[in-house]
């Protein structure tokens, strides 16, 4: 029975040895390329909007909205998850990934109804992002108010 204990103790190392690790070099190259490309598309949209007379901040906001739409559409067309398979963080971290994280559960849980399924589950992944984003911004606001 000592053997069982011994194996259990060494098990973490055994698992690490047996588990192939992802090819981080390739993953990072994909993430860099796809993430960078999405940002360039964002930059192009911003520049185009500016030529139509949008102010810098408004152009940035409009860009966000347009990218959210593109992310949502690509999710609906069953394309975004296939990009994510290669791009990893490259398609998770940009705002299009945020959009994907809202649309994917909304689509998946539609069958459980429009209110408790789609409505309630829409923010299962993205909800925490808004929760912690808002909380940290409020904390920053309080500190800024008292110490500015």
């Amino acid at each position: 029975m000592d053997k069982a204990k011994q194996i259990k103790q060494n098990y973490k190392e055994m698992v690490e040895k047996a588990s192939p690790s992802s090819n981080m070099g390739v993953n990072c190259a994909w993430a860099f390329f796809v993430g960078g490309t999405i940002c360039v598309i964002g930059q192009i949209i911003t520049e185009v909007l500016k030529t139509y007379g949008y102010a810098k901040d408004d152009a940035a906001m409009m860009t966000t909205v347009i990218l959210i739409f593109i992310g949502a559409l690509l999710t609906g067309l069953n394309i975004y998850d296939n990009i994510g398979k290669y791009a990893g963080a490259g398609s998770i971290v940009p705002i299009t990934g945020f959009s994907n994280s809202v649309v994917a559960p909304a689509m998946e849980y539609k069958k459980e109804g429009y209110i408790l399924g789609m409505g309630a589950r829409m923010f299962t992944v993205a909800g925490p992002v808004i929760v912690y984003g808002v909380i940290s911004s409020v904390v920053v606001g309080i500190i800024y108010y008292f110490f500015k």
Partner: protein, 335 residues
């Protein structure tokens, strides 16, 4: 005569006979190396239904209909159906057999369910409580992703240690007597927890459980690896396989030459992008019902130890920081 041996094993003096088995699989499994062994390959994962869950129920229903047909019996001959699946409250089994009007015993053993349902069925038959009993199980990739992981359309990467849930259902028709391979022993597994918390590495979770059950089977039956032609696990995948063989070697059992894993057999990992292998209740079930039993019929193997492995994953306990317990049940099938 005492039928219970050692710690975990039951010997059947009148071994129940496997009269027939049936398997139905999804499109991806139908493109895999075992395709020719399956009775039915469905064309799309929805199987003409409106939800993934209904599709999985239909898989069970069709597998049961098929096995009854192949055994040349009618539904009225069947005294019990023992079935289970991965979905909450065993919905796939419950809805799948809703129309059969046959007494139902639901079992949950995560991906070890095929061996568990087969064990219960064998006990009922050998105990003389019923002449015909069906054991079955199912899993469905889309249902499992939705319940245990993330929505299908969510973009992301699956680590190389992860496995691919098999879409499929297998059913086995047991009888008191007749022609076919017999169930001679069962070794019921214990919960074995080696403190793994990585839900993307199920092979690592289940390998110690598989080793524990195999070792106890050998001790209880006074057999060893030389007795069997084939020792087959349910869904350890490549990672779990390596760990299992390693652990067993430390106990001085070397099963390498007899060993096979259903999860590795069912997919061509590199081509089909399934990483460590197939998994899910359906993985062991369709490989046993389709591939192994039909090859046993042809005489490729005579003595098989089928060890289905399960990771008792719960989203709740996992999020509460608990590790994932594993279990494995063994069924000795001999010609």
């Amino acid at each position: 005569m005492n039928k219970h041996l050692g710690k975990q094993t039951i010997r059947f003096d009148n071994p129940p006979v496997i009269l027939a088995s049936s398997s139905i699989v999804g499109p991806r499994e139908g493109e895999g190396p075992l395709a020719t062994y399956f009775d039915t390959i469905i064309e799309d994962e929805l199987y003409g239904e409106s939800t993934w869950e209904k599709a999985e129920s239909k898989l069970i229903e069709k597998a049961l209909e098929k096995v009854i047909e192949k055994a040349n019996k009618t539904i009225d001959d069947v005294k019990y159906i023992i079935s289970g699946d991965l979905l909450n409250q065993l919905t796939a089994s419950t809805f799948g057999i809703r129309n059969f009007k046959v007494p139902f015993i639901g079992v949950y053993g995560a991906c070890s369910t095929m061996a568990e349902s087969l064990s219960v069925a064998a006990i009922i038959v050998e105990g003389g409580f019923a002449d015909y009993v069906i054991a079955s199980t199912s899993s469905h990739f889309c249902c499992a992703e939705k319940q245990f992981r993330s929505p299908l359309e969510l973009g992301g990467q699956r680590p190389l240690t992860s496995t691919w849930t098999v879409t499929g259902s297998g059913a086995i028709f047991l009888a008191e007597s007749g022609e076919g391979p017999k169930i001679t022993y069962i070794t019921t597994g214990k919960i074995v927890d080696f403190n793994i918390k990585d839900a993307m590495n199920m092979g690592a979770v289940m390998a110690p459980a598989a080793a524990d059950t195999i070792i106890n089977h050998f001790i209880d039956t006074e057999r060893d690896e030389n007795y069997y032609d084939l020792i087959v696990t349910g869904d350890l995948g490549k990672v779990g396989k390596e760990l299992l063989l390693d652990i067993l070697k430390q106990y001085n059992y070397d099963i390498t030459s007899k060993y096979m894993d259903c999860g590795i057999e069912i997919f061509e990992a590199d081509k089909q992008d399934t990483h460590s292998g197939g998994s899910g209740c359906g993985c062991g079930a369709v490989t046993l019902a389709g591939y192994i039993l039909s090859e046993m019929g042809k005489g490729k193997w005579k003595k098989v130890l089928f060890v289905a492995t399960g990771a008792m994953l719960s989203q709740v306990s996992l999020q509460q920081g608990e590790s994932i317990p594993g279990i494995a049940h063994a069924v000795a099938i001999e010609n």
